[in-house]
Each structure stands twice: as structure tokens, then as C-alpha cells.
């Protein structure tokens, strides 16, 4: 165990997490971009895939493929078993109480929309309130606005402080008699802020208000325990945890899922259908209409196993080391300003430069083989809050290194020279 005096990271990561070994698991890291070795600093947009995931998806099609939940033949039964095993994998990943609380989705976006439509909509009347924060991804703003237009409910927004954090007292002040739902981002993709969600949930629950957490950026970087958090819903996407895109999962407490009407109608979500009366299946199948992205789910299961085999604590420590190092080095670049300096942060550095627009930064970095994101990061209200049109953002995955941070800094010096 570490003591208060020694930095917990430097020593532990060196022994417990071998990044050079880990990099060998990601074939794309061998490629070149514009003649330079790829430096991939855009994992918050989407993470790269390890060989085990790529192979699992390929093998699913090559050796195991059939439709699931409907065949008596061997392939279908076999793949159904594998598919359902991923549900257990996700349950254990989030420490949910039961597999029945895990609904497969297309990703975090669909998870939020499902909850908005099947859980929140029936509870809303004109004038009711839904609380979000000022740092939400568009996927946790627009579904609520759409509900608002339909029902007359209004969105209340917890303000973001200058360092990119929110204050619990501001959140508490927004909770009112009319609050019907709280939906907040666990970790911000634009600022990296880790929100005090446990305290927020407790405050909301004191008033019997259910809470959804958007965990798209949290699950890649920290271990999440939905029972300890006591959240009512939790959503994430497979592609940000080194799995395939277009798949993800929604966790919902059994007591809520049971009372929720279906989201989409179709095959697989029914118990029986006749033109007189259709009976819906129990959760989670009730929310999984149609043939899903079967091999994608299989791939997501392998990705979760891969991530856990490295140890989430070790991954978190490694990424925190990169964050601390990058923050220190970037802060020394004249004319560079970091956006999002909250004390609790995940591996995201958003920044602007006096001399150059984020787009120009992005293009120049790209020519050095460095992939970052430039733009509003699907969080335009955050840009408005900080009065910038866009930011440049470097985000770290488990395969990044300090040497890559050095390359980033070097390239940013080049930007400064060009535009000075």
C-alpha cells in the first residue's frame, strides 16, 4: 500500500503495468500516418482494438455464426450461450445484482434514449423538471429536450465552474418538488471532470428522484460498482472500452425495468403475439427487439475481459500518470490554456492556444502522425460556457506512453513557431 508521502503512481505503475507489452496487443499502433508512427491520442472519441477483440469478432463470423434465441440447431444454441455469457460479463463488470438488469443496446446514446422514452416519459407532466449538468454530451441533452417539447417538462442545468467541476450545493439547489429525473455524466468527455456522482445520487434519492449516469467515459478508466453508487440506470458504449462500435449496455434496477414498457416493438421482445393481444417478454429481452449486433456483443465481452485482465486499477493509475505528466508539460507551453482542471479528472486534456485555432492545431499534429480531436466534442454548451468555438483535445488510453506526450509537446511547439 502507498503512504501519503509517496506519489502512489510512479512506483506502482512501473511494476504493475507494462505498457510496452500492452502496446503489442494493438496491431494498429504499428502503422504509420503521413510517414510517421501513429500517436493515437483520441481514445475518448473511440478506442483502438486489441487483437483478441478483432479475432473474436472475426471468429464469430468465421466459425460460430447463426441467429440467436431462435434456433434449435447447434450453431444457434452455441452462439446464444456465448451471447448470454456476455450479459454475465457486463453484470460482473458493473457489479449489478442480476443479469436481468443488463440490457444490450447500440451504445450509450441508445441507452439514454431508451430510459427517456420508456421510463421518464410516462412520468412527466408539463412543468416537471429534469436535471442535467452543463457538461453533458449531446446524447444526454437532446433526448431530454425532445421529451420536454412533447410534455412541457423543463431542463435544469447544474452550472460548470471555471475549473470544469460542479458544486454539490448548486445541484442540491436545483432539486425541487418538480424534479422527476436526474441524468448526469459520470466523466466528462470534453473536460475530463469526474463528477461527485455518489453524493449527487444520495441527494436525489433523499427526494425519491431516480438518477441515470452516462458512463461512456467512466468505464474505460475506473472500476464502476452500480450497487455501491446506487444509481438507477447506467449506460456505456463498447467502442470506448476497446470493443466494437455500435454495441453497448444499459444497466437498470430490476424494480424499474419490470415496470417499464418496451422501447421498440418487434421480434425477440415478446412472449406471445396475436392480433388480439401481445404479451411482452420480461426484462431484459423486453428491450431488445430485433436481431442485435451479435458478433459485436461477443467482441464487447472479450474487450471487457481483456480490460479486466490488465487490472482496472493499474490501467487507471497508468492513465493518471499520463494525465499528470501531460498537464505539467502542456502548462509550460506559452499561450496554451487548459480547459478543465478539476481536481478529480480522467485522462483528457482539452486546450486552446492563443496563436492557433484548434483546427489548425489538429491538422499540424496530424501531419506529425498525432491524432487528436479538434472541435466541440459533441458538447457545445461546454464550449459556450468557456466562450470558445472549439478546443483541441488529447485523450489517453491504456496504450499511450509518456514518450507520446513528449511528441505531442514537440508538435505543439511546431504549431507555435508556425503561427507566431
Amino acid at each position: 500500500m502507498t503512504t501519503a508521502e509517496t506519489h502512489p503512481l510512479a512506483t506502482e505503475t512501473a511494476t504493475r503495468f507494462d505498457v510496452d507489452r500492452v502496446r503489442e496487443d494493438f496491431p494498429i499502433l504499428n502503422r504509420q500516418v503521413h510517414g510517421k508512427p501513429l500517436v493515437y491520442l483520441d481514445s475518448a472519441a473511440s478506442a483502438q482494438k486489441p487483437t483478441v477483440v478483432i479475432e473474436a469478432v472475426a471468429a464469430c463470423y468465421r466459425e460460430d455464426y447463426a441467429n440467436i434465441h431462435r434456433g434449435v440447431h447447434m450453431l444457434s444454441e452455441h452462439l446464444t450461450t456465448q451471447y448470454e455469457a456476455v450479459r454475465e460479463e457486463v453484470r460482473s463488470f458493473l457489479n449489478a445484482a442480476s443479469e436481468k438488469e443488463i440490457v444490450f443496446t447500440r451504445g450509450a446514446t441508445e441507452g439514454v434514449n431508451l430510459v427517456a422514452s420508456s421510463f421518464v416519459r410516462p412520468r412527466l407532466r408539463a412543468g416537471d423538471e429534469i436535471i442535467v449538468t452543463g457538461m453533458e454530451h449531446h446524447s444526454n441533452i437532446v433526448p431530454w429536450q425532445m421529451l420536454g417539447e412533447e410534455t412541457g417538462a423543463v431542463l435544469k442545468v447544474v452550472p460548470v465552474q471555471d475549473d470544469g467541476s460542479i458544486r454539490l450545493e448548486d445541484f442540491e439547489a436545483l432539486l425541487s418538488e418538480r424534479t422527476r429525473f436526474v441524468s448526469v455524466v459520470h466523466v466528462s468527455n470534453a473536460l475530463g471532470t469526474i463528477n461527485p456522482v455518489r453524493e449527487m445520487i444520495a441527494l436525489a434519492h433523499e427526494r425519491d428522484v431516480p438518477v441515470l449516469l452516462d458512463g461512456a467515459q467512466a468505464v474505460p478508466h475506473m472500476s464502476v460498482d452500480v450497487q455501491a453508487l446506487d444509481c438507477d440506470f447506467y449506460v456505456f458504449s463498447g467502442h470506448k472500452i476497446y470493443g466494437p462500435s455500435g454495441v453497448g449496455a444499459l444497466y437498470g434496477k430490476s424494480r424499474w425495468l419490470k415496470e417499464m414498457p418496451p422501447y421498440h416493438g418487434g421480434g425477440d421482445m415478446i412472449r406471445s403475439v396475436s392480433f388480439e393481444k401481445t404479451e411482452y417478454a420480461d426484462p431484459p429481452q423486453r428491450f431488445e427487439a430485433g436481431t442485435p449486433n451479435i458478433c459485436g456483443v461477443i467482441g464487447m465481452g472479450v474487450a471487457i475481459r481483456y480490460l479486466r485482465s490488465l487490472g482496472l486499477e493499474a490501467v487507471a493509475a497508468h492513465e493518471h500518470d499520463l494525465l499528470v505528466y501531460a498537464t505539467e508539460r502542456l502548462s509550460q507551453i506559452p499561450g496554451l490554456r487548459l480547459l478543465g482542471t478539476a481536481p478529480e479528472k480522467a485522462g483528457v486534456v482539452s486546450f486552446i492556444m492563443d496563436c492557433a485555432h484548434p483546427h489548425d492545431i489538429g491538422t499540424i499534429l496530424d501531419r506529425s502522425g498525432i491524432a487528436i480531436r479538434a472541435g466541440h466534442h459533441c458538447a457545445q454548451p461546454v464550449m459556450q460556457r468557456f466562450q470558445v468555438p472549439a478546443t483541441a483535445r488529447a485523450s489517453f488510453g491504456l496504450y499511450n506512453t509518456r514518450a507520446e506526450v513528449d511528441k505531442l509537446v514537440e508538435a505543439l511547439e511546431k504549431v507555435r513557431k508556425l503561427f507566431a
Partner: protein, 147 residues
């Protein structure tokens, strides 16, 4: 492979640092806003047209070096042009950015420094944003989107 210096030529860097005609023209005969929803770049273009001739063009806004320089060079290139000449210039400019097989149109003048943009497909919209706004202004629309 093209070099960064082909994109960020000295002329472009200079127009980015000191954009020409960077002002609202009030009153003006035509104006419109241009917006690139992908990156949030925005520009407002103001034009005074007398008869069928463009007397002056100004712009304001916030954007990357490419969109700022392109808007700045555009305002200089258009002064004194007829509406038909302006339209033809836009067509040539657009072709310059999207079709590398096309020979350089001599009428482009200073606009030709933006030719390097065609090697950066994701940046073409930056270079055409002000032009779309100009087009919208002359057509009597209030807004243009680069999408």
C-alpha cells in the same frame, strides 16, 4: 505527400494574423452569416452592391487560419467585380479546392494560394465557408451552412 508549408503559406498566415476588411459594413446592401456546424466556425459577410458591381466586401467572425485567410482574400478579390464575375470566381475557386486535375484558372489571382487545401479534404469546408455566406447574401438569404 504534401508539406504543411504548402497549406500554411506565408500569405495565408499573414491574412490570418491581419485579416483585411475585417469589419461590419453598415449600412450594406447584402449580408449573411455562414456557419460550419461541424466545427463551430462562423463568419458574417457584408456586401455593398451598386448596379451589378460589388463596391466593397467586409467580414467578421471566428474561425481557423484557413477560413479566416480565405475570407480575407475573398474580400480583396471581389472588390469592383460584377456579380457575374464574382459567381465565376466562386466556381473556379471551388473547382480549385475539390478537383486537383484542373489547371489553375488565371483569374483566381491571390486566391490560388489556397490551392494547398485540396490535399486536406477535411479542411475544404473551412476555405469555402465565407464564399457560401457571400453566395447566400447575394441570393437574399440570411444564412449559409457549409454542410
Amino acid at each position: 505527400m504534401s508539406e504543411l508549408s504548402d497549406l500554411y503559406q506565408e500569405v495565408i498566415l499573414d491574412h490570418n494574423r491581419k485579416p483585411r476588411n475585417f469589419r461590419a459594413i453598415d449600412p450594406c446592401s447584402h449580408d449573411a452569416a455562414g456557419y460550419n456546424p461541424l466545427c463551430g466556425d462562423q463568419v458574417h459577410v457584408y456586401v455593398n452592391v451598386e448596379g451589378d458591381r460589388i463596391k466593397e466586401v467586409g467580414f467578421q467572425g471566428e474561425g481557423c487560419a484557413i477560413s479566416t485567410a480565405s475570407a480575407s482574400i475573398m474580400t480583396e478579390s471581389l472588390e469592383g467585380k460584377t456579380l457575374a464575375e464574382a459567381e465565376a470566381l466562386f466556381q473556379s475557386f471551388h473547382a480549385l479546392l475539390v478537383d486537383s486535375s484542373r489547371p489553375l484558372d488565371a483569374n483566381l489571382g491571390k486566391l490560388a494560394v489556397l490551392a494547398g487545401v485540396r490535399d486536406y479534404p477535411s479542411r475544404v469546408k473551412c476555405a469555402t465557408l465565407a464564399w457560401h455566406a457571400l453566395h447566400a447574401a447575394l441570393e437574399g438569404e440570411s444564412e449559409a451552412s457549409s454542410e
